[in-house]
């Protein structure tokens, strides 16, 4: 199991979590996934999430209303669930997003949003208390 999978597994611990994936926004490729995807087509879901974020960050003029005002997350609420897209502050190679489908009755949006932010950060930022050089 890769380290990416471990992080995705953490998102699946959230109450109401249905499925999660880590998406490369430039290409729409899922670099990893866990759980299920509504509709069943993980590839299409990843590509769709990437497109929504691409449009939101690139084409929506509000993105440029202020310099450096980057998107932190985007949440779509439907009758049955929440779809959370959290940008991952990766230094190289382009924008990534951590995506989570949350069941509406069981999901806690506020909590999921916090945890997702944490996990997205953990993917690419060393925690200050993490021991250095102990990996692998």
């Amino acid at each position: 199991m890769s380290d990416i999978d471990d992080h995705l597994a953490r998102t699946m611990d959230l109450p109401g979590a249905v499925g999660a994936s880590l998406v490369d926004c430039a290409t729409g490729l899922a670099l990893g996934s866990a759980g299920a995807v509504p509709g069943g087509d993980g590839e299409a879901a990843a590509a769709g999430a990437a497109e929504v974020l691409y449009v939101a960050s690139g084409r929506a003029p509000f993105a440029s209303a202020r310099p450096n005002d980057a998107i932190e997350d985007l949440i779509i609420t439907t009758a049955s669930g929440y779809h959370l897209l959290r940008t991952v502050p990766v230094a190289f190679g382009g924008q990534l997003a951590l995506c989570l489908w949350l069941d509406r009755p069981d999901g806690n949006l506020a909590m999921a949003r916090r945890r997702l932010a944490e996990i997205a950060d953990d993917l690419v930022r060393p925690r200050p208390d993490a021991p250095v050089g102990s990996a692998a």
Partner: protein, 321 residues
């Protein structure tokens, strides 16, 4: 084991690769042709792919400023012989395991797009030959193939004209629309497209993945903002599929609010990017250094007539809505 001579068919690298994967082989597949490259297998799964058209792991990490060049160099010097450069970077605390995985995964799919779609002239497998990076992630050959064809389709959906993929590109002197909104990534491309650089050059210069760069070049071409700087010096390996350009994929062009004229807006340009641009030579070359027999320099490019004009006009008109 499998040594093939001249194989002009496009499907050849893929077919051999599938056979190697099925057999659970470990070694390096050398692909020569339009865009050469290498595919590295461990137990039948892909651990690394390299192509001159796609920045490698080292280039991505150093041009972005994530790793200092001396850090990368030191890891390569110490770890290359034992095929454990990746592990070393993590063990020494320079990178987190997840970061390394993300970087390598991205680089694999990126390079695979060029290596697997090339019109190969020769394909050769060197059994047992390991990549210096070592085993970081593993990708199934099937997944790589699927993603590669999806990417090809996607490019043609954006703008069905592959001549801009290989030719030097340049911004049009006058935008075809009153108002232009660009992403930061697009802005960087427009600024650095000097009529001599190709998409691959721009991707190296900016430390940006090769496919993502192609995609933006096609988007900008579809919007009529970037054009083949001709004389056409290249041709696509992939024939242009006659798909309509995705109307949602071009840059925003909004004539309704166009009182201010051309108004390119970019999100903040980070200092690392600027630095990246000035350091590209070092970053790129160093990235390739440790590879003993890797591809050096892109293959020959063939000619394609500049018939993109019609497509660009059509796309530009479409962008006007």
């Amino acid at each position: 084991m499998s040594e093939t001579g001249r194989q002009p068919e496009i499907a050849q690298p893929s077919r051999l690769l599938s056979q190697l994967a099925d057999a659970g082989e470990t070694g390096t597949l050398y692909v020569d042709g339009g865009s050469s490259g290498t595919v590295h297998l461990i137990d039948g799964r892909v651990s690394c792919v390299e192509s001159p058209a796609a920045p490698g792991v080292g280039a991505l990490l150093t041009t972005s400023g994530r790793l200092a060049e001396h850090t990368w160099q030191a890891a390569v010097q110490t770890g290359a012989a034992g095929h454990r450069v990746g592990r070393l970077l993590v063990e020494q605390g320079h990178l987190m395991q997840s970061e390394l995985e993300l970087c390598v995964l991205g680089a694999i799919y990126d390079a695979a797009f060029f290596v697997l779609t090339t019109a190969a002239t020769s394909v050769r497998f060197a059994p047992g030959e390991l990549h210096w990076l070592g085993r970081v992630v593993e990708v199934e050959v099937g997944a790589l193939e699927r993603e590669t064809s999806r990417r090809g389709r996607r490019l043609d959906e954006i703008f069905p004209e592959s001549s801009v993929d290989h030719a030097p590109v340049t911004p049009v002197p006058t935008p075809p629309v009153q108002r232009v909104v660009l992403t930061a990534a697009q802005w960087e491309l427009v600024v650095h497209a000097d009529g001599r650089r190709t998409a691959a050059d721009l991707s190296r210069l900016l430390g940006r993945p090769g496919y993502a760069t192609l995609q933006e070049v096609r988007r900008l071409s579809a919007a009529g903002l970037l054009r083949n700087a001709g004389p056409p010096s290249s041709g696509g390996d992939r024939g242009a599929v006659d798909a309509p350009p995705d109307e949602g994929a071009s840059a925003v062009a909004d004539p309704d609010h166009g009182v201010t004229g051309p108004d390119p807006v970019a999100e903040g340009e980070s200092p690392t990017r600027t630095r990246a641009a000035t350091r590209r030579e070092g970053g790129h070359r160093r990235q390739r250094d440790p590879q003993p027999s890797g591809p050096n320099g892109a293959g020959p490019v063939d000619a394609v007539p500049d018939d993109a004009l019609l497509g660009r006009l059509r796309a530009a008109l479409k962008a006007l809505r």
